[in-house]
């Protein structure tokens, strides 16, 4: 596995782990609770819907990295970018569909930028 794909896989695995742990800590909360379960001491929060979405996006990115399918990695990056937009629109408001806050914005931005830049530069290199 080349270094770009390995880096994509690492970012995807971190996102997947964050999603799965968030799923576990959000069990018992309503699906779209405005305040999600906290991911340890990081301040990152997602409710069940948000955690499921993060897990699925992490899986898509990992599949893209392992199967050399750059569009899958880019799709996952776009998904994380949409989560970042959701935080900007709904954090601090009564309706917060993914149970996010500012720390979740940081996480989603990192996943989007990391996967996006790796996939785009891999294409330029090719």
């Amino acid at each position: 596995m080349d270094v770009m794909r390995r880096a994509q896989a690492v970012v995807a695995i971190v996102a997947l782990i964050a999603g799965v742990v968030s799923l576990i800590v959000s069990l018992g909360l309503p699906l779209t609770a405005p305040r999600g379960g906290a991911l340890g001491g990081t301040g990152i929060t997602f409710n069940l819907l948000g955690a499921a979405l993060v897990s699925v996006l992490g899986l898509i990115a990992l599949a893209g990295a392992l199967l050399r399918r750059r569009p899958l990695v880019l799709a996952a990056a776009a998904g994380f970018a949409l989560i970042a937009v959701q935080v900007l629109l709904q954090f601090g408001r009564s309706t917060n569909l993914l149970g996010t806050r500012g720390s979740s914005l940081s996480f989603a931005l990192g996943a989007a930028a990391g996967l996006g830049v790796l996939a785009l530069w891999a294409r330029r290199d090719a």
């Binding site: 270094v3 001491g41 301040g43 806050r101 500012g102 914005l105 931005l109 990192g110 330029r124």
Partner: protein, 179 residues
């Protein structure tokens, strides 16, 4: 009895590896600092109506002045336009967490971290109950990862710099400087 000897070259290699691990850990800890602390900058008013949160800490720059010109800017420019300032702080701190965690354009973001730490220090250094060394340490830690180009240790800068070096695009040249 066998004696294990380490050559000078081996010692230098071990020191380099230890240094790399230390810069990696410092970068990740700083990223987590910003990730966690972007969580309490809460829109839409960032604590203005309750005189709490980011608004309270920003007002310390005026109430417990550290540097008169900075207090003037906060009083005359920032507090009257506090919502815009709040969004700016949230986006900058969330981005600091994201990019330092990735190790992407690390030197650029380390400098942003120095500036943000300095701004926080100028706001709260003289406030009651604050430990001033925390802010000096934040500034120095960001300077250290800037000087070490810490994204080159298990960061995306290390992965992408070879591609940027091969490319003759303007963006690649900018990213090389930022990493």
């Amino acid at each position: 009895m066998s004696v294990t000897r380490t050559s000078p070259v081996g010692l230098a290699g071990e020191a380099n590896r230890a240094g790399g691990v230390a810069f990696f850990v410092t970068r990740i800890v700083l990223a987590l600092l910003w990730i966690q602390n972007s969580g309490w900058k809460t829109p839409p008013d960032f604590g203005q109506s309750a005189e709490a949160g980011l608004y309270k800490f920003t007002r310390f720059a005026v109430e417990h002045e550290v540097f008169a010109p900075y207090a003037f800017v906060v009083r005359e420019l920032i507090l009257p336009n506090f919502t815009i300032f709040g969004w700016f702080v949230l986006v900058v701190e969330a981005s600091l967490g994201a990019f330092l965690l990735l190790g992407l354009a690390t030197r650029l973001w380390a400098l942003v971290g120095v500036a943000q730490s300095l701004a926080i220090a100028l706001s709260v250094l003289n406030a009651p109950g604050e430990w001033s060394w925390a802010y000096y340490l934040m500034i120095v830690a960001h300077l250290a990862i800037f000087a070490a180009a810490a994204g080159r240790y298990w960061g995306l800068d290390a992965v992408l710099r070879p591609s940027w070096e091969r490319s003759d695009s303007r963006l690649a040249r900018l990213l090389l400087k930022a990493s």
